[in-house]
Subunit: 447 residues, 2 copies
Amino acid sequence: MRVVVIGGGAAGASAAARARRLAPDAEVTLVEATGMITHAPCGIPYALSGLVPSYRMLRTYSPERFASERRIEVLTNAVAEDVDVDGRTVAVRRDGSVQRIRWDALVLATGARPIVPKLEGVEDVRPLTFRHPEEVTAASARLGSARRVAVIGGGYIGVELTEALVDLGKEVILFEMMDRLLPGPFDPEVSKVLEEAMKAAGVQVRLSEPVRYLSRKGGRVVVGTDGSEEEVDDVVVGIGVRPNIELAVKAGIKLGHTGAVETDDMMSTNVDGVFAAGDLVEKFHLVLRRKVWIPLAPAANKEGQVAGANAVVRGSLRMRGIVGTAVTRFKDLYLARTGLGQEEAARNGLDVESTAIVARTKAGYFPGGVEVTVKMVAERSSGKVLGVQVVGRDPIVAAYADLSAVMVERGMTIEDVFFSDIGYMPATAPVWHPLIVAARTLSKGRF
Amino acid sequence: MRVVVIGGGAAGASAAARARRLAPDAEVTLVEATGMITHAPCGIPYALSGLVPSYRMLRTYSPERFASERRIEVLTNAVAEDVDVDGRTVAVRRDGSVQRIRWDALVLATGARPIVPKLEGVEDVRPLTFRHPEEVTAASARLGSARRVAVIGGGYIGVELTEALVDLGKEVILFEMMDRLLPGPFDPEVSKVLEEAMKAAGVQVRLSEPVRYLSRKGGRVVVGTDGSEEEVDDVVVGIGVRPNIELAVKAGIKLGHTGAVETDDMMSTNVDGVFAAGDLVEKFHLVLRRKVWIPLAPAANKEGQVAGANAVVRGSLRMRGIVGTAVTRFKDLYLARTGLGQEEAARNGLDVESTAIVARTKAGYFPGGVEVTVKMVAERSSGKVLGVQVVGRDPIVAAYADLSAVMVERGMTIEDVFFSDIGYMPATAPVWHPLIVAARTLSKGRF
């Protein structure tokens, strides 16, 4: 039995490790286009800012260690160019020559790549994008002398890169085409808290201002919007990613309505023996009850496990859905969310009620507590909690979102939340936990 | 309609407020034996140590504000002496005279009181106990000149009082009769971490050493165990509490097998029109499927709400069970738990598997993460998570226990935990959350 995995990130490495574990006699090959595997793109902003001293730390295993500990053949700087699904081979280019590798099961884990907007002047200016830790060194050198930097995109990536640039002492202008920051995952009450924190840190936040063109001017770059031009030293694009589907499409793998690869819950594609996992594939949203494309590491890791398991023992593990749990931060302000936001619920035709409350993270009399804003969205008819967003200057908000994620997954109502046996001590939580306060507010006096 | 609530702590104040809210025309009277209501006994150690500047901060409302904002008659320094369930009155002593107050619904929320062990010499030495914030002033004065203090009891109260005494610069000897700290709620792996932290802070931890006698010697106190005597300046007892059932027993209220008051899920006692809530009553344990007595504030608050609601609108709210979620700390070491421990599960005849793993709270490369120990207990046959214990130098461990509490309440299996959509970003969690790592370990390679 030969298992070949294309892509050495979270999903691919998980798939290879799982296949090896379940099939000790299988030959497992991991093909990675760069020099790193098990790399963590989420850490890039912190390697860029220097908070994490080297981009090399943004990986769990060296290729050599992964290979020897797991008995997996790891091919780095190896680009999978073509898949022959009938002959069950994959063509891999490495060191200038192409090798055909045979497989009985193939796992595609080619991930996602940054979206570069089709702007006038973009090919000339070549704004920085980030997806792989190896890009940090060149980017750091290029940004070294820049004093004033434009960031295009106020989503997760744009926000996190802005933190890095502020920490590097740059003057940052952040352009977001929508009327608020993080417009997809968060509702306005939460976006507003972030906007204020960014402004307080000196960031020029330019909302409702889509960038229309870039142009070079002397050694600088002009960023043009509908109403204005700004001269900056460099431009960073962080408007999101799209699935890396080229290899899959060439192989005849079916895409879903989101444009990402469609799989079943064993991570099987439409082609027998070919699995896919990670940012490349669609995920099933447990609240919306349909496929979505939300490319985040935890699901990628689990899909990798599921793909790797089924590649060697069909039916041994089945992927569940997601609820869109996500966390970000800007300096000491943390933002976390799960389930559906109010606007997202409305867009999907759901009749919801919501509340946004402010509560402390510790007992009122206990030092060190901070105020957090909790927005909770519940289905009007059933009282089911559909989503929660939390923002505040403590990483604990991520844990509130985790707790909410399980509540949303399990279909808990606001009354279930009220009665859940959440713990208390003055140094860790108020006796009425912020999530319980939100649920009580939604009950309108019923409890 | 007249509602009388006896006891102004968490449960009583919640009951009074809820009755008022649901029955705007009712007369509601809150009878409290001390001068404070809505007081927070959990904060006592921190008022004693000075971390919280005054014991007066350990309350949510002044009696006057509670009375005026809620339109509730608040009688402080008023002791309920006797209940006449046929005549529907309660005798309340206040300012030297006794008044009979009529009620249509009565809520007993008399709480719990510290256990004073029946030791030789205990009446002479009168060791300090703590239950009410008002006790802090006298205790601080008495402890002022003490250099060396013995604490009897290594449960929650003993541990938290030890922190206070250490913070006050005292030399502390902690006596625990069992062979480890927190022997009820935690398993040995977790107790051991606490023991090491206490020793590192200079605490003499004396395990398996029940105190047998106390005696005065000059201005000091001798603490005698089976094998040794220690001379100290004062003694603090923190071995736990028992329910304050005297008034209930006099009124003919039925007790359950735990010795606390038995109620149904509306918090009704066996006597029509009499409700009970808080530390006085038994709670239904959702894993053990039987009544237990675990007196903690979150359940007390909710029971108060339920009792107050049903006192005025019968059937309007029903209490759910608990899973024994609890949190404590010693200085910067936090300990949290939910569900059943391994020993507790075994005592209850459950066939379980368990694991204790060590994991980091943030991505490996991210600064500021700490190692936490997670112990997870699952039912062998079903894979259901029955309990989780977490210990580490970050208050986030409490949030892990909260998340686990919901998982245990909802009957989630280790596979459900693995697939739950817990969030990730390097500054708030590793991509494999410590709870997922524990669940994976228990799966023995299945995922």
